[in-house]
């Protein structure tokens, strides 16, 4: 029973840089810092779940060995984003000497783009003044929200969304460690759901593993409340064909029959539409309708009504576009 209470994204977080899947270029450059025992300030940018925190922690572990927890501090800037966190907590950590014979400490500042510009301004000289004693690793989603003077002080590493092979590799590794079998279509499903975000994939795997030791694609879609890509494609097809009645049927099956949340459905339709090989003018119109429905839902409108209205609007657009009579 102990097992089921462990969150797999923590249990299987890579401990060393060489365990990381994906981000090969970045990993090899970080490893060279280990060899030379030197480190500049670093700025990691990129979306969620692609290894920024993992890389920082693994780097610190390997850098310091046993004393890593004494010389490494992790702060989340979105919890405390004002100037005082820089002037107090950060400076405090940065100015005290490293332990265990290390020549400097590492401060990892997660979500640094949440720091106010004032706090960032205070940070920049701290980084320089205590550089002997402390190196900074900043992570953020959007590097444009980090002020130029800080970017200028860091080596910048741009993490990319993980590619399907990297996600599949990690899923297989965890599955074999947990002694569960995963079908190829289940792996496809997790890759589809993850969209480059490893955490989403691993969460889907752990969720599905609660249902069975033998995981199928169907189970992955069910546990994550996602429709299968082919179901979404079918929905879009009937809409493009201008058939409101059938589109409504498919919609109800997905929403009530399968229990898929309306905003999840919108997300999936959005993804499918962007990639759909249809005329761009129509595509733009349909995406605009989707966004409108998403907005109204977020404002608290009733999902059944809004989703049906969305279908009606999309069907009309498709008919106008395909020169089908609007009323036929």
């Amino acid at each position: 029973m102990e097992e089921s209470t462990t969150i797999w994204i923590e249990k299987y977080r890579p401990r060393t840089l060489s365990d990381m899947v994906g981000q090969k270029d970045i990993v090899s450059r970080l490893q060279s810092y280990l060899q030379t025992k030197t480190l500049p300030h670093l700025l990691f940018t990129g979306s969620a779940g692609i290894g920024k925190t993992t890389a920082a922690v693994a780097l610190a572990r390997e850098f310091y060995g046993d004393t890593w927890q004494m010389n490494f501090r992790e702060l989340n800037a979105s919890d405390e984003r004002g100037i005082d966190v820089v002037r107090n907590q950060i400076k405090q950590f940065a100015r005290t000497t490293a332990l265990g014979g290390a020549s400097f400490k590492i401060l990892f500042l997660d979500e640094a783009d949440a720091l106010t510009p004032d706090a960032q301004a205070a940070l920049r000289r701290t980084m320089e003044n205590y550089a002997q004693n402390c190196r900074f690793i900043l992570s953020c989603n959007y590097s444009s929200k980090i002020i130029d003077p800080i970017q200028s002080r860091c080596a910048i590493y741009r993490f990319r969304p993980l590619d399907p092979e990297a996600i599949a590799e990690e899923i297989r590794r965890i599955a074999s460690a947990e002694k569960i079998s995963v079908s190829p279509d289940a792996i496809d499903a997790m890759v589809y759901i993850a969209q480059g975000d490893m955490r989403k994939a691993i969460n889907a795997l752990q969720g599905a593993a609660l249902l069975s030791d033998d995981i199928s694609g169907e189970m992955v879609y069910a546990i994550t409340s996602n429709a299968r890509p082919d179901e979404i494609a079918a929905l879009i097809d009937v809409v493009l064909a201008g058939d409101f009645e059938r589109a409504e049927g498919v919609l109800h099956e997905l929403l009530t029959g399968r229990g898929i949340a309306p905003n999840e459905l919108l997300t999936q339709c959005y993804r499918a539409l962007v990639a759909a090989p249809i005329d761009r003018l129509l595509k733009v119109e349909l995406i605009s309708h989707l966004g409108e429905a998403d907005f109204r839902l977020s404002e608290g409108a009733t999902s059944d009504i809004q989703m049906e209205a969305l279908l009606a609007r999309c069907v009309l657009s498709a008919r106008m576009h395909g020169a089908l009579p609007p009323g036929g």
């Binding site: 490893q31 030379t36 300030h41 080596a155 910048i156 962007v274 733009v284």
Partner: protein
């Protein structure tokens, strides 16, 4: 030690580029006496401002005291650190101290309360040379700025960065390929520190360095937004466009400005209209996103502006430079105007003991008329600088001339100490400036 610190220039003569600025600083230091105006070194990051200040101190054998934004800069904190040392000569005798106030454009509102004023007092009473450092000259409180001498540091051209990088490579015994150094120098866009950091990141752990090693350590600049805009005009798949948009460091509210600006290359009115229809729809979603803090909506904005514009631009060619949003320039100007207006209203409402609202509604026009009639005495009386005077006169040349003249003659024998003067006393200067009267009512 990382290389930006190890290779920080020690002497003024080691600093790369900005020759005129360096000479100005050296001259200032040589001729410094009590009462000399402090310097403001301003310019983009990594152009050598802080290095220059410290190198100067070393060259002159001055001690340094540094105050930066990571210290609290309230009035009392500044007085504690610098106040003492600025008015008392140091124990060793004639020894001077250079007081360096870094990030002077970042006196933080509440935590640094009174900071700007304290620095102002410090400047006035100082027995020691003072240097202020800032990225943005305009963000420095006016009261400080006008007591200082600005020194601009310009972005460094790639050709001046390369030799420095080569020197570092030699000192570190790394092989370096010229092409790689040039690639670094160029992507640093004028920022020496970024260039050295990139070199360090690329060179660490490998004895030689080539262009490949540099790819991952490029400065995260705006370069990719140009790629994105360029792709709008090529036949690309929509997925590719959106993928690019995620790689760009900018958020959709910035991207839309670039996309909008560059619709100028779409020549057909129908196509342009189509493009703007999807851009304006995208803009609605950006508005929703911020109003509701519901960031999911961003994706619709991105998809609409990119796919819509890409479709509309297929018949057109990107026939020129990809331009940054023109609105940015205008907005910077507007912010400036607003700051000037606030400063003016502040001054007059304090002096005339009148609420700003009343001043603005009922008195601005008569005051403008009076100022126009005898600008020099008003400029002196209210301590107006050229920008503030121009707010009333709408004649930049004349404003500059008047403030310059009044600065040259600091105290006229019989300046009236009482509130605004009757026009008669200024007949002479009035005649001098009569040529620019036509602008009197502009803007009111």
């Amino acid at each position: 030690m990382d290389w930006t610190e190890r290779y920080r220039p020690l002497h003024l003569s080691d600093i790369v580029g900005n020759g005129a600025a360096i000479r100005q600083i050296a001259d200032w230091a040589r001729e410094w006496t009590k009462g000399s105006r402090p310097l403001i070194l301003y310019g983009k990051p990594g152009t050598g401002k802080t290095s220059a200040a410290h190198a100067l101190a070393r060259d002159m054998q001055w001690e340094t005291i540094e105050l930066n934004a990571s210290d609290q800069r309230t009035k009392s904190a500044i007085e504690r650190v610098a106040g003492n040392s600025s008015t008392t000569a140091s124990l060793s005798g004639a020894q001077r101290k250079l007081i360096i106030i870094d990030e002077a454009d970042n006196l933080h509102g509440t935590s640094d309360r009174g900071g700007a004023k304290a620095i102002g007092d410090l400047i006035r009473g100082s027995f020691h040379p003072i240097i202020l450092i800032a990225n943005d000259l305009f963000a420095i409180p006016k009261e400080l700025k006008k007591r200082c001498e600005p020194v601009q540091f310009k972005a460094l051209p790639a050709r001046s960065i390369v030799p420095r990088l080569r020197h570092i490579c030699r000192s570190e015994a790394r092989d370096c390929n010229e092409e790689a150094l040039l690639a670094i120098a160029e992507s640093a866009s004028g920022d020496m520190r970024a260039a050295v950091n990139m070199l360090y990141a690329a060179a660490i752990g490998s004895p030689s360095l080539d262009t490949r090693g540099i790819a991952t350590s490029k400065k995260d600049g705006r370069a990719t937004i140009f790629d994105l805009v360029a792709h709008l005009f090529r036949a690309r798949s929509d997925e590719e466009l959106l993928r690019l948009s995620y790689e760009v460091a900018d958020t959709p509210d910035t991207i839309i400005q670039w996309v909008g600006e560059n619709t100028r290359y779409i020549l057909s009115p129908t196509d342009r209209n189509d493009a703007y229809r999807s851009i304006s729809r995208a803009d609605e979603f950006i508005g929703y996103t911020f109003r509701r803090q519901y960031y999911t909506l961003w994706r619709y904005a991105t998809a609409l502006m990119l796919i819509g514009t890409a479709r509309a631009s297929q018949g057109s060619k990107l026939a020129g430079r990809i331009a940054p949003p023109g609105r940015w320039k205008v907005m910077a100007g507007m912010r400036r105007q607003k700051a000037i207006r606030t400063a003016v209203l502040n001054k007059f409402s304090r002096r005339l003991r009148m609420p700003q609202q009343t001043l603005r509604d009922d008195f601005l026009t008569p005051i403008a008329l009076m100022i126009d009639a005898c600008a020099p005495s008003f400029a002196r009386e209210f301590d107006l600088d050229a920008d503030e005077l121009n707010f009333f006169l709408h004649d930049r040349e004349r404003s500059v001339r008047i403030t310059r003249d009044s600065a040259a003659v600091p105290d006229l024998p019989d300046t009236q100490k009482s509130p605004p003067s009757p026009p008669e006393q200024e007949t002479i200067s009035r005649k001098k400036t009569a040529d620019s009267q036509s602008t009197l009512f502009d803007g009111f």
